[in-house]
Subunit: 234 residues, 2 copies
Amino acid sequence: MNPNSIGKDYLDHISIDCVIFGFHNKSLRVLLLKWKTINRWALPGGFIKKNEHADAAAQRVLSERTELSNIFLRQFHTFSDPDRNKADGNLDISLLPVRFSKEAIDWIKGRFVTIGYFALVDFNKVKPVPDLFSEECRWWELEQLPVLLYDHHHIVDAALIALRDALQYQPMGKYVMPKKFTLPELQKLYEVILGKKIDRRNFRKKILGLNIIHPLGETRKGGAHRSPDLYSFN
Amino acid sequence: MNPNSIGKDYLDHISIDCVIFGFHNKSLRVLLLKWKTINRWALPGGFIKKNEHADAAAQRVLSERTELSNIFLRQFHTFSDPDRNKADGNLDISLLPVRFSKEAIDWIKGRFVTIGYFALVDFNKVKPVPDLFSEECRWWELEQLPVLLYDHHHIVDAALIALRDALQYQPMGKYVMPKKFTLPELQKLYEVILGKKIDRRNFRKKILGLNIIHPLGETRKGGAHRSPDLYSFN
DNA sequence: TCAAAAGTGTTTTGCTTACACCCATGC
DNA sequence: GCATGGGTGTAAGCAAAACACTTTTGA
């Protein structure tokens, strides 16, 4: 994004925010950006070009932040509380050390209705890239998120509920898991998303019955215990 | 809405559209407005005031069109195709016989991202009221909708899917059925929403097991056959 | 008395849950 | 050898689906 295009090339008062989920080391993670100067963590987001579909804008933001394309992405809710950006009364966006015009700053400080998306990505393939507003981009464990900008914590909560819901209908492990994975790893993913323990035997039965993964005939060596079988998504 | 407030009191480029479902005479119906001059039927919709929540805007539109308040209402999707209002290339909105300023007309002809809501109302309690753009407001059978404005047919389809989905989790018959109703009537509602036949005995068992309705000890006289028992929601 | 809709229970099926033992590996 | 996690099958429970006969009513 170009500082000069703010308030000109984009639709007014509409933004998108992406909750990008990844899975690593047995925990669910979310990609966050640390905003300059105000030192607040926030969801990756952006604006919609005047002739762009919101879905395309979300894909654009996603690929800019992760350097990935063709990511699993789903709109889940639009947040329109007129005071959603006023949760932090003492936060002054105009402190952003970016060369914005006065018009651009007024534009950004205005009200935004934001369309929420969630995405699932392969943690190992992501190269986090900060945007114009931020100095850092990195993964955070879902259980240990910092204080977030505006209503972003609320958006994350809603995204998790939507993800949980979607997982019931659609096995989306293939977007998050690495090429080769073990069943206990996939089970852990389900457990952290659904927020409950699952029986090992029942889980195997269910997943294998879906015919979406196949055994590779290899095992993962190097663990401290019995080597688990490796699988891949079809 | 005041013609002079168009383009001033509302957020630019954002609208809401409501798919209002009612149930009458064994069929699911949708409330539509007939736009003046262009003679095209459309969903009831509106704009969001500069300091208003989208949910509140939807409630406002709903009560303006139905003269009901406190209606079951749920946001289901936001439609953002940049060409969604260009489906009818030959449609000239500026023909609307309403005294709009040139600025207002340009504003209306611009691109809109619209937030879709669906609502459930008691057919018998609704007094359909046209809005500023329309000359008529009435119910249409879902199976026999006319050609609709813009992408409104697509919005209706998506609303029906969302409604079907919601019905699985939440028995929302009480918003649509009259005070007194029979089980076959309620069953028919489920059948038209879910799009499939349901076994009578299984349906009774399930609904009565939910403890959300109770028999009134009366029957509906006057039918050509055996009088069905009347029930009410708790 | 007949046609059409409404009331009523039981069986079967499929999916989910519960549950226990042996196996492989690194320390 | 032992602690730890991984692999494996069966029985029980529960909710949904299948299924047929009798009753009431107006014509």
